[in-house]
Every structure is written in structure tokens, then in C-alpha cells.
Symmetry: C2
Subunit: 334 residues, 2 copies
DNA sequence: GTTCGGAATTTGATCGTTCAAACTCCGCCG
DNA sequence: CGGCGGAGTTTGAACGATCAAATTCCGAAC
């Protein structure tokens, strides 16, 4: 028969102080006299006391828990960056005393519903949004209901444009895609002038951003190919392109596209053709394709910084652009 | 100025009943008379009432929350299966009214510490273990402290051996690796008799299990190659092997190995050589390599089944082997 | 020696729910 | 007609912490 778990009352009795003093040692140690604090800490250690978060939540109406959505797996490698981000977020949240609760939801409406339940039930008190888009109803709802949140991804137009950039009610963290492709393109130019961009159809903020970085380096007459984010389509697009013109390197909007381009190049008898991907997924790693690394760990760190900041007292900026890093692989070295 | 969130008291007043009746409608609707229940449900809907999980937890000492560990990302594709599992678990847990809390920990000891805190704080009341190994201290600790848990992976010897198989205190769910490689080998034999197994060094339960399925089909004189789980090493092993002997197909213990084998085959001028991987990761998908799919969704479902079962009243079995599924890709068809 | 005031500590109330026991109906049986 | 019993409902207490206000302590100032 196991003994009941010790409470703050038990600790207090043992240390010869009152409940509240124990509570103070836990939450505001600086207001407790040194000798008293030591006695209480000793009692805590002896009893193996751990505070009841349930009781704390009920009283304080705070849970120190972050909610984040997890999609069902859809195949492909695009989800990996998000998973890495979540791993990093979990890793970084723990030392800050924050917990992470993941939830499922089929669409934005359902996600709002779920957030509402979790929030009103006191299970979470902050949210991290992913996969945001312009006019995202989730962000609107969260802002309207005063739920602190940070988005991974720019949901409200491009960097530098629009008044919402500095809006403390719409904080976000994103990776500077243009900087990534700029670095990739500069690197690719070492192999020759004709650096093609293999991107997605225009219209996706992320894709346009990545294209911009390349465009800034190659100028207006740079050659651009377009493909959906599929290996097969990217491959056939690249095969056609390579047959038509001489090309020195290909900078891609994703590793999926890069893989297609790489396969096309190999098939065209040019396995050494420089191809640079984006996201630095295991596919790029395995095939030794250079790729732009998003550094999800830094994103996670920045997200947490913004998430614990208080818009009413703290100063901005309320958005962060993380500088990605080009990872050059053996295939392209020397 | 926003109104205070409604409580069970508010709902009760509105419906003209008592606190407890509202509580009963929520938790044991069958004991409430039909007309009364309807009135209460109407009041709940009108007020938009959502129960406070914090208060419920405090009172019942249950949280309906599952804790699961998330490692930091280590590169490679091996983590993907685990991520898919977690996605599936989240997806399946929600409709069962269970929540999922993820936590970080550097090693087994730290994980035990974290579980203890989360558990005593009432944040989680069940755990899913991953990456278990024989004599895993985490499982020992959990069993000893009466924390319900289920392991993804067999931590206590092989299936069919040992008395612990039916132990309700050590429940697990795993994928039947042998069945997977058996199917893979049978498929590979359509391309010829000489089906090689490319596996990891002996000693890992998972690897040995997967080898067994192949061995059962090819017999004692089947040829086996060994490599650590790295593309580069697998490739060089396969290249050497292919140079030495004629081979009709290669069955691999992982997609990483399969990728290495595939590259070796292509390099040796045999891009059409049948290679079968394991885990059905995006890499296999992208390169159109056939692979054995673990079906993490089924694993998740089984884990949840065991996790909500009560060892003292329910009957076994307390372990489940999930039958994996061979995914044949275009490259190998026809 | 009394008064003042800040620091340290204690006390009573409270958060929102569920448990356990008590109570109210109401029909049925003897 | 009184007592019994079960279904349905209500009431008081408890879960374990923190908040807010009250109290004690103690040295300095007058």
C-alpha cells in the first residue's frame, strides 16, 4: 500500500512553516528568508514533493502549456521540416517550464473548435500555428479571443510590406527563404553563369519568396522552370529543360524538386551537375545533394521568445526572420 | 469587457437543476431522466459551457492525457516512422477523448524524472514508450509505480519466448518485421532465386527479426550482407557484393540500406535490379523503391486499445503484432 | 519606552469540479 | 394505511494549490 502523495501542507508541517511559505519558496523564493527557505527545500527533498499542476492550474488559471496542431501524415518529405520544428520546440520548451500538447484537426474550423475546448478547459494557454495562409481564420479567432499565439510562417503578406508587420497581435517567425536561395545561387554560380531556378507555380508566398532570392542574383533574364512539388513532374520538367539548353546548375524551391532535377541530370548523363535543394531533408542528405537548411531549432527558439513575451508591456519586434544556412555536400565540393 | 466563463453552477441555475445533475449529464447521462437531460443540454449549448479540465483533474486525479517522448532530430530517415506514429496517435487519441503531451529528455534517467514530474503533477496519467530495449529501466520504473503504459516495440525478448509475453504489466505493440521481410522476399523471388539480404550487424532485436523473415524463405544457404544504417556504407557493401556474385534481388532491413543498394545497382549498370526496403519512407517513395510499410496507424490504434484497457479486469492479449504491408512501386512492377 | 514601518510569515477564502451521503418522490406491497 | 425501495435529484465536503488580507516580528527613529 502506497502512501498518499505529499502536499504543500505536508511539506509545511515538516518544515515547521505554513502552506503559503512553501508556496512562496516554489514561486517567489526571493521573498523568503534564507534560513527558512533552506528548511523548506530540505523538507521538499525529503518527502519527494512535486506540486500538483492540476491544483495550480485551477487556482491560477494558467497552464504553461502550448497547443500545436499535428496533421495526419500525407506522404512526401514536405512534412519533415515541420516535424523537426516540433521536436526542437519540445526540446526548447522543457527548460523554460513550458509543456507541449499536440492535437489533431481536419480543417481550420475544427482546429478552432479544438483550440477553444482546450483553452477553456484550461489545458493550454498559448498556441503555435503552422501552415498559415493569408487571412487565416485561426489567427483571426485567436487574436479576437486574446489567446497568445505565434505563427511559424508569414500569414499576412510578405516581409516589409503591409502595416501588419509590426502588429503585436499577429506575431510570427519565418525562415528567410530569399536569403537561402540567394546563398544557394551564389554558390551555384561557381559552377557557371547559367543557374536555372526550378520552382513551384507562382502564387504561394513561400515559393515566391524563394524565387526572389535567386532572381536577385541572376537578374531579369534568368531561366525559370516550373513544377508542382512532385519528384516525377520535376524530373520530366528538368529533363525537357536540360535537352533544350545548356545549364550549369539548378537551384530548387524544395528537396523534392531537387531530387527530380538530380535524377534528370543523371539520366541526361550529367550526374555531376550542381543541384541545390531546399529544406535539407534526409533525401538530400542521403543522395548528397546540397540543400538549404531551415534551422528549425532557431525557429523554435524564436517562437518561444515571442510566445512568452507580453504584447502590452514588452517591445517588439513581433516577427523574426531566421537566416537559413546552405549545406554543401560532398558531391559539389572542390 | 468579456464575461467570466460559465461554470457548472451557471448551467445548473439556467436549467433549474443542481450542480451535480449537470455533472451527471456530462459524465453519466444514463442516470439522468430524459426531460431533465434535455434541459441541461440546452443550457450548456446556450451558454457555450465547456468544463474546466483543471478542476476535473484536481478532483478526480485523472487527466486523460498520454505522455510521449520526442527525441531531438538526429538526421537520417529512421526517425520518420516514429513521427508518423505520433501523428497517427494524436489523430486517433482525440476522438477517444485522450490528449497527448510530448516531452523532451536526453536519456532514460532524465525521461524517468520527467515522467515522474508530469505524473505527480497530474499532467499525464499514461505513457507511451518508444525505442525500448531489453531490461529498459523506464519500463521497470513505470511498472513499479503503477503507471499504465504501452511500449511501441518489443522490449523483453522475442515474440513467443519468455514468460513475460502475456504479462499485463508489460504491454507492447510491435510490427511483425519477419512477416514484412517474408513478403518482401517472396515478392523478390519473382525476379529470381538469388535474393540477398542486406541487414544490420546481428544483435539488434529488430534487425534479427527482419532477417528471420527472409531466412525462412531462402533457407540456410541464402547470402547475407551486413552494413550499418548508412547510405554510403550500404552502397559500398552492395557494390562489392554485386561485383563478386550474380544477384537477382536485394531485400533490405531499412530504406537507408535500400537506397545504398539501389545506388550500387545503378552504378553497376543494373538500375532495374529489384531492391526492397523497409519502413516505406519518403525516400523509397521518391525513388520508387518498393518497401515494407509499417502501418503506424494500426500501431497507434492498438497502442490506444491497450492503453485504455485495465489489467486487473480486462483480459489479454497484452501485446499485439501488426502485420506490415509490402508496397510495390512502379519500378518493380510487371 | 513607545511608535512606526517594512520584511517575513500566517490565515481565510477561493478556483470548478466530483464524490459520498442524504433527501425527495412515488408506486407497490402487506 | 404505513413501510419499503429504487430512481432521480440535491447538499456538503473535498481535491491542492494561490491570492489577498491580516498578523507577527524586529530593528530604527523619536
Amino acid at each position: 500500500m502506497t502512501a498518499r502523495q505529499p502536499t504543500v501542507e505536508d511539506v509545511a508541517r515538516r518544515a515547521g512553516v505554513s502552506r503559503q511559505t512553501v508556496s512562496n519558496v516554489l514561486n517567489t523564493p526571493e521573498i523568503v528568508r534564507g534560513r527558512t527557505r533552506e528548511r523548506v527545500e530540505a523538507a521538499i527533498a525529503e518527502l519527494g514533493y512535486a506540486p500538483s499542476m492540476a491544483a495550480r492550474r485551477l487556482r491560477t488559471k494558467r497552464s504553461a502549456t502550448i497547443g500545436i496542431h499535428l496533421d495526419p501524415y500525407a506522404g512526401g518529405i514536405s512534412g519533415i521540416v515541420l516535424d523537426r520544428f516540433i521536436h526542437a520546440l519540445t526540446d526548447r520548451a522543457t527548460p523554460r517550464g513550458l509543456r507541449i500538447l499536440v492535437y489533431a484537426a481536419a480543417d481550420a474550423q475544427e482546429e478552432i473548435q479544438r483550440i477553444r475546448q482546450l483553452r477553456e478547459g484550461g489545458e493550454i494557454d498559448r498556441v503555435v500555428l503552422t501552415g498559415t495562409f493569408e487571412g487565416d481564420p485561426r489567427a483571426e479567432w485567436l487574436a479576437e479571443h486574446d489567446v497568445p499565439f505565434v505563427a511559424f510562417g508569414r500569414p499576412w503578406g510578405e516581409a516589409g510590406t503591409g502595416a501588419q508587420m509590426g502588429d503585436p497581435l499577429r506575431p510570427w517567425v519565418d525562415v528567410d527563404g530569399a536569403a537561402g536561395t540567394r546563398a544557394a545561387t551564389l554558390f551555384a554560380r561557381e559552377h557557371g553563369e547559367r543557374v536555372v531556378f526550378l520552382g513551384w507555380p507562382a502564387g504561394s508566398g513561400t515559393g515566391d519568396d524563394r524565387e526572389r532570392g535567386w532572381r536577385e542574383v541572376v537578374g531579369v533574364d534568368g531561366l525559370r522552370w516550373t513544377s508542382l512539388d512532385s519528384v516525377a513532374e520535376a524530373r520530366s520538367v528538368a529533363e525537357r529543360g536540360l535537352a533544350e539548353r545548356d545549364v550549369d546548375a539548378i537551384v530548387c524551391a524544395s528537396d523534392t524538386l531537387a531530387l527530380g532535377a538530380h535524377l534528370a541530370a543523371s539520366h541526361a548523363g550529367r550526374p555531376e551537375l550542381a543541384v541545390v535543394g531546399f529544406d535539407n531533408t534526409p533525401v538530400a542528405e542521403a543522395l548528397e545533394i546540397s540543400s538549404v537548411e531551415q534551422r528549425p531549432e532557431r525557429v523554435a527558439e524564436a517562437v518561444l521568445d515571442l510566445l512568452v513575451a507580453d504584447p502590452t508591456t514588452d517591445e517588439g519586434p513581433w516577427h523574426r526572420l531566421i537566416e537559413p544556412e546552405l549545406v554543401v555536400r560532398a558531391r559539389d565540393e572542390g
